[in-house]
Amino acid sequence: MNATRPCLDIRSLSTVLPNGARVLRSVSLSVQPSEVRALVGESGAGKTMIGKAVLGVLPLSVRIVEGDMLLEGEDLGRLQPKARRTLIGARTALIPQDPLTALNPSRRIGPQMTDRLVRILGWSGQRADLRIRQLLDEVQIRDPDRVLKCYPHELSGGMRQRVLIAAAFAAEPRLIVADEPTTALDVTVQKQILRLIAQLQREHGTAILFVTHDLGVVAKISQKVSVLYAGKVVEEAETAALFAAPQHPYTRALMAATPRYTDPFASLKPVDEAVLAGLASEIAAADQAWKRSHG
């Protein structure tokens, strides 16, 4: 049953900048319910933009020129803006990259966590408050009374990220977009946060689109992975299969470049020029084909 209808289905999504340059190049991917799909790539690969497109928060300069996005079977492109906003608000959530800028500095934590439940989903304040406290407990915040009354600057980076994770899971979303949620954190904190996300994801059965640049994080958290280069999915696989036998030369090069302290001299290999040349011609061919079919 699950396999028949993906939680998120992106079909051939392309976006362009005002100067006409394509940023996403016919991206297709799907996330099954209760599944973590990693989107991995280097800067400029467009991985963050995919998440933003799904959530309807693309920068104004970026325009979607083709493709459909289906959230639990509902075509987001066909909804009126208001209906779309409400649907996204009810069924998705975002765990952002930088916990320092992801909380409004002039509002207390409590209202920031409950406002979606109360003002969009129409819960009573009391119910929302109970729910939030339950989630704070799940992310191992033991003094919710204090935290809810705090302003963001009174909490550490790790605490803020916990608060954001709790807020993301609070409304029982079907899909969470996690946009490099641990990039700004120290490794020891990163491990705790990843552990929390994985645990909550399992318990709540939420699907996650996990955007990251770190193959290490991909290996640990995801079941499926899409490797992106220049806005194009170059390889897609089960995570275990990808690490066992990467197919695309770029994936192999990326793995060889990633440092590993267990094997220092087999890692940190600069990407071969031939691989980059191959990618460039692959992208050029794709753009040519796209131009022909879209005139």
Binding site: S61, Q97, A102, R116
Partner: protein
Amino acid sequence: MLLQRFLIRLLTMAITLFGVAVVVFVVIRVAPGDPIAMMLPPGASDADIARLRAFYGLDKTVVEQFFIWLSGVIRGDFGTSISLRQDVLGLVFNRLPATLELAIVVLLMALAIGGTTAILGARERGTAVEAGIDIASGAALSIPDFLWGLVLILLFGVLVPILDISGRVSPQLDLPFVTQFYLFESLVRLRFDLTKDLLGHMLMPAVALALPLAAIISQLLKQSLKEVLDLDYVVLARVKGFSETQVILREALKNAALPTLTLVGVQFTFLIGGTVIIERLFSYEGLGNMAIDAVINRDLPLIQGIVLVFALLFVLINLTVDMMYALLNPRLRHG
């Protein structure tokens, strides 16, 4: 923390005011002309001049004069105007309400226009609406209030003469006011006929002053809003399902307004400075207009008094803004 901040601001205020007093005193005493000679008829005897100089304290050294004057100021005695032969403080208080009323009307106007256009422009960012707002605010900002005043005189005083181009109130009207806050009092007394006449006189000078101020508020607040609207917590609010207007009003406005606030304070002081020439241009009987007369008549005590009152207004505005900033900023409030 807040109280401490307040006290320190008060101290710097006092230092600034002292600095202003020193500068204006020194500048005035450098003047080559003799104010006393101007007051007396051409045939006045040397003894008359000397007597008058002694009366105004002008026979003492500059340093002595300064401290005599300063001790007077601290007691609330600003001396006697040479040209008008009245108590300086009384003269200033008589004219100050007119200037304050004008400034307040201008500020409200500028905040309303600047605020709405900023919010509108930020909401419609990247569209023709924003481009239009940018062009309008660019023009309003680049042309100084003095020129706006002249343009308005031509437009509404000559071309379509619907507004009065001089004075504060029509001279033939019978005024029942006990204070100098005419506009305020006319509202309290429900004499809307007088309110209408007062506003008719005030409108052009107020618009001339408000246009550049509104433009700067609009540009700054819009820029600030646009920066805030790219931040993660705003993106998060959109994902939560809030509309763009809700996002701007609930999440962005307060944080964007904070950096704008201090600037509005500085600009408001510029505005008060601008009243001097605008009052002159529209023959509006305020403090600035009197100040120019005082300079032309070399009325030293009056000049000193007026400049000090202006400076006091400036530092008070800065103090208010600073305190508002501290109150609105949770970091400072709890720091």
